[in-house]
């Protein structure tokens, strides 16, 4: 059987042309992303922080630290590392929320946004250098305040920073191999954002003591 068997050539061509002319994209339901995000977040929290569920109210920083360390063992691929970093950061954020630390977006006015998709690879290295600089400043500031932090929180913080730094290193290596890959650049940007967010929150926390 071939494509033209039994069919009138003109009719078949017309049908194929009509099929090709159909729209390749149809706008999704505007609420779809919110639902998807909620389902993903719900899954992440359920997987990582079962203590957040109703029957276990002993959501302590120590428990969160133990779980984050146990669940998120170091992984081999850059992508896994990045995702792991996102998850471990989520765990820490839950611990921070438990301590009722209010969050202020854009503490230092630098709120890195969706840059990777719209920025040329050469410019991205400048952007990432700025991230590095901002992270270093925050980290230096945090080092001075470290004695004011609860030891368990310091343990979680160090563990998260370690994972995020690994994710950043792995993703940077991947980006070096594929400098035009916007997805990898986006993941690197997210890892940097998470690191800055983590440092900001830890700084806020130290200030609140």
């Amino acid at each position: 059987m071939n494509d033209h068997e039994e069919f009138d050539e003109t009719a078949l061509t017309a049908l194929r042309e009509a099929a090709q002319a159909l729209p390749r994209e149809i706008a999704p339901n505007p609420a779809a992303w919110a639902n998807i995000r909620d389902r993903i977040e719900h899954t992440r929290v359920r997987e990582l922080v079962p203590v957040a569920n109703a029957e276990a109210k002993e959501t302590s920083v120590t428990v969160a630290a133990e779980k984050s360390t146990r669940v998120l063992q170091p992984t081999r691929t850059w992508l896994r590392s990045t995702r792991g970093a996102a998850l471990i950061a989520a765990t820490l954020f839950m611990a921070v929320t438990t301590l009722v630390v209010p969050r202020e977006d854009g503490v230092d006015g630098a709120r890195p946004g969706a840059l990777a998709a719209d920025t040329a690879p050469a410019e991205m290295s400048t952007v990432f250098a700025r991230y590095d600089g901002a992270a270093t400043d925050l980290q230096n500031d945090l080092e001075r305040r470290r004695p004011q932090l609860h030891p368990a929180m310091v343990a979680v913080l160090d563990s998260c920073l370690h994972t995020l730094n690994e994710a950043i290193d792995d993703t940077q290596r991947a980006l070096k191999d594929a400098p035009d890959n916007a997805t990898i650049a986006g993941l690197l940007e997210v890892a940097y954002q998470q690191k800055l967010d983590l440092l900001r929150r830890a700084t806020e926390l130290s200030e609140s003591f």
């Binding site: 078949l12 049908l15 009509a18 099929a19 149809i26 999704p28 993903i40 992508l79 996102a86 997805t183």
Partner: protein
């Protein structure tokens, strides 16, 4: 999550179009598309860049659709091939112009499922028989048969 949201923004239109054509029912297509992106998030680490992200998402879409359909079919005890006998020329009431997009969409929606999947993936999305076979877990020869059936139905419906 921001990176994944960006991925969603880039690909949601195409994935949604595929979901609409595979699932036909708009509500079911909406659910399917959400399932696809949740599954994509879960399986993102299995994406190695060997194919384009677009193709990978289409593969996930077809897999999620077929898995959901298997569940539906178990409930309905309704066989795909048997659809041939129950096929309704719902497009007959529409314009006979085969270039009319709405008529063609209606005619595609009325196809038996196997034929619809083959037609959507081959004639609209441009995948080869082998690619469709790999996506849907059937033989390439079966894809050809289903595509032939789809074209026959569509030509009859649009005449």
């Amino acid at each position: 999550m921001q990176a994944f949201e960006r991925l969603y923004q880039q690909h949601a239109g195409r994935v949604n179009a595929l979901c609409r054509r595979l699932a036909v029912d708009v509500n079911r297509a909406d659910e399917l598309m959400q399932d696809v992106f949740v599954r994509a998030w879960e399986k993102l680490e299995s994406f190695r860049g060997e194919s384009s992200l677009d193709s990978w998402l289409h593969r996930v879409t077809v897999n999620v659709f077929l898995a959901a359909d298997r569940g539906d079919r178990r409930r309905r005890a309704h066989e795909d091939i048997a659809d041939d006998d129950t096929y309704e020329h719902t497009a007959n009431t529409a314009s006979s112009d085969p270039g009319d997009r709405i008529d063609l969409e209606r005619a595609i929606a009325a196809l038996p499922q196997g034929a619809r999947v083959a037609f959507v993936l081959h004639d609209i999305e441009g995948y080869s028989y082998e690619e469709i076979a790999a996506m849907s877990g059937i033989a390439a020869a079966t894809v050809r048969v289903q595509l032939h059936r789809a074209r026959r139905h569509l030509m009859e419906a649009l005449q």
